[in-house]
Structure formats: C-alpha cells, structure tokens
C-alpha cells in the first residue's frame, strides 16, 4: 500500500470514529413527542375499585396515563393492549411503569368497573373514575379534551376524547406523549430510552 492509501484509510477511520462518538453522545430520539424540560402537572386523587388513588403515590415510577371510556370498543382497547404488549417486552423492568386508565365517562364507568376493565388487560393496570366534576378537573389538568355526545334512540352515546397516551417521569412531570397508533415496538423503544435516564 502506498502512503496515499494509508492516509486516506486513516481519515476514513477517524471520520467513522467521530461519527460513532457523536451518535453515542446525542440524546436518544423518541418515537413519541418529548416534553423538554418535563412539565409540572401537579397531583390528583380519583377512585378505583379499591378506594382512592393519588398520582403522587407513584413517585419513583414512570406513570403512563390514558384517558378513555369502556364503551369504546376500538381505540381504547387497542391502546391498552399495545401498552401491555410493549411492557411485556421489558421483562422485570416493566414494574417501573404504572399504567393508569382514567374514564372520562363516569356515568357508565364506575370506579369498580374502570378497575375491572383495566385489569383485564393486565392485573397491574389501574382503572380510575370519580364524579364527572372530579374527572373533568383531571382532564383539564392534563390538557385532555373529551366530549359526551348526544345519545341515540336507545340511550347509547359515544364520547370523543384525546387518544394520546401521556407519560410522567419519576418526579411526576409530563415528559413524553405517544400518539394513538404508535406500535408496541416503538413504545418499547421509548420505554427503554426512558429507563436509561
């Protein structure tokens, strides 16, 4: 090999090394939308089948919040199932995440039923409800939109609601949001990145 080749090869290697270092030092890109710095959202207390539950009691864990209603046969089960699937890929570390389902339809979803519904996806999932004003206050606390639509002839009504999943960091601040439709492998990837922090 002549000198030119050696220099060229060395430059290429140097470039690759620099790229590698740069990539490692970059903060990981999340599949969801990161909120940087994480936003304070405060605490709340709602009702589960087993009594009152406060957000503050989960400090130290990542809290995954999803607002929905049980009479929703499509988006809500899909999201909760995706969360279960994503967590199952973390093995033991799944315990560092607490999934909480909050019903925006307390008329039909009692705290007991919300808890039963959530636990059907995974026994560790918590389901919460409360009075309409209590639930309403929490949705406003998190910037979640919901609307109870007019009932049809049989009395059945649907509820429009923000289908985004919210992730609070270990200090209880909003750090990340996942849009509806994000795939389990993408969610798991974000969860692994969160665990690295």
């Amino acid at each position: 090999m002549n000198r030119q080749t050696v220099i060229f090869a060395a430059l290429v290697l140097l470039f690759l090394a620099a790229l590698f270092v740069y990539q490692t030092l970059l903060p990981p890109t999340m599949n969801g939308s990161a909120i940087d710095p994480p936003a304070a959202v405060g605490d709340f207390t709602l009702q589960s089948g087993g009594g009152p539950v406060s957000l503050g009691s989960f400090a130290g864990k990542y809290v995954v919040l999803y607002f929905g209603y049980t009479s929703c046969p499509d988006v809500c089960p899909t999201t909760l199932a995706a969360l279960r699937e994503s967590l199952s890929r973390l093995g033991d570390r799944a315990a560092e995440f607490q999934v909480i389902f909050i019903s925006v339809d307390p008329q039909r979803d009692s705290p007991e039923y919300a808890s039963v519904y959530a636990s059907r996806f995974d026994p560790a999932f918590i389901g919460l409800s409360g009075s309409q004003p209590e639930v309403d206050a929490v949705t406003r606390q998190f910037g979640i939109f919901y609307q109870l639509n007019p009932p049809d002839d049989s009395g059945f009504y649907t509820v429009d609601h923000t289908a985004t999943t919210l992730v609070l960091d270990r200090q209880g601040n909003l750090a990340l949001t996942w849009p509806y439709g994000l795939q389990p492998d993408q969610i798991t990837e974000d969860m692994r990145n969160l665990l690295k922090k």
Binding site: S71, V75, T78, D109, E112, D152
Partner: protein, 160 residues
C-alpha cells in the same frame, strides 16, 4: 462451471425472496352470494352491570374483511347478535389526536373490491352485552347486506 454456480445461487435467492411474500389470507370464513368474509373476530369483554342504565352495558367491537367478487357494489347495512342488546356499525375517526366514533348506516363494499372493518376504522359495535365473551369462544353475528342479504358468520373471540 461458473454458470452452474451462479444458477445455484440464483435459485437460493429466489427461494429466499419467496419467503418475503406476504402470507395469504387463507380461506374465507363464509362465502355467500359473491361475498367472502375473512377472519371475523370480536374482542373479549366482561359485563358492566352498572352501565346498563344509560344504554351502555358492556360494549365490544367485531372486525373482519369483506371481499366482493360481484360486478355490483354491495353495502353492509346492519348487523345483529344474540349476545348483545343492540348492534350498530360505527366508524372511528381521529383528528388532532382526538378520537371520535359515529354510527354509520352503510359500509360500501365496492364491486370486485373489499372493505375492511378493523381497529381505527369501521367496526361492528355490540352494545349491552348479555354475557361475558371469553378468548377462544365464538359468537354468531348476522350481517345484513343490501344485495347479498343476510350472511351469518361465526366470529372468534380474542383477547383485546
């Protein structure tokens, strides 16, 4: 000799590529009057005793793929099931992160085309479940089409 070697590699390549071909749908669950229904399934669900007051009860959704082999378009007008008090067809839509659902009175199945009822889109909604639906069971769904008439399918209950 060289040609033989390349031919051998080429054959291997073809075999490898054929593994990438997406798996077929398999056989339709029901084939009737030119319509084929593939993979009908319904989400497992428990009962909601407290929700019955406001026309709720427990709610779940059924999904499937409908293929129309006729030269004439058809439409899924309605459906019924013994396990639910009421069955409606709904369409989910998302806008700016907000999900909403509305009853529709017809899902068009284009001529020589297909319509998919899947999560995030159209679904058959079973309202006011009278019994728990458990993974592994099947339930009877009666689909009412404009041209093909009533088509009965057995939908597999699957965990959400």
């Amino acid at each position: 000799m060289k040609l033989q070697k390349y031919f051998f590699l080429f054959t291997i390549l073809i075999f490898a590529l054929s593994a990438c071909v997406p798996a077929g749908l398999g056989d339709p669950a029901v084939s009737q009057n030119g319509l084929e229904i593939y993979a009908p399934w319904v989400r497992a669900a428990g009962l909601n005793p407290g929700g019955g007051m406001h026309g709720g009860g427990a709610v779940t959704g059924a999904f499937m793929l409908v293929k129309n082999t006729n030269d004439q378009a058809d439409m899924l007008l309605s459906a019924s099931a013994e396990v639910a008090e009421d069955v409606q067809i709904h369409q989910t839509s998302m806008s700016n992160g907000v999900m909403s659902m509305a009853e529709v009175y017809g899902v068009e199945i284009p001529a020589n085309g297909q319509a998919e009822l899947k999560p995030g889109g159209y679904h058959v909604m079973l309202i006011g479940l009278k019994q728990e639906l458990k993974d592994g069971e099947t339930i009877t769904l009666r689909l009412n089409f404009q041209n093909a008439g009533e088509v009965v399918v057995q939908a597999a209950v699957r965990n959400p």
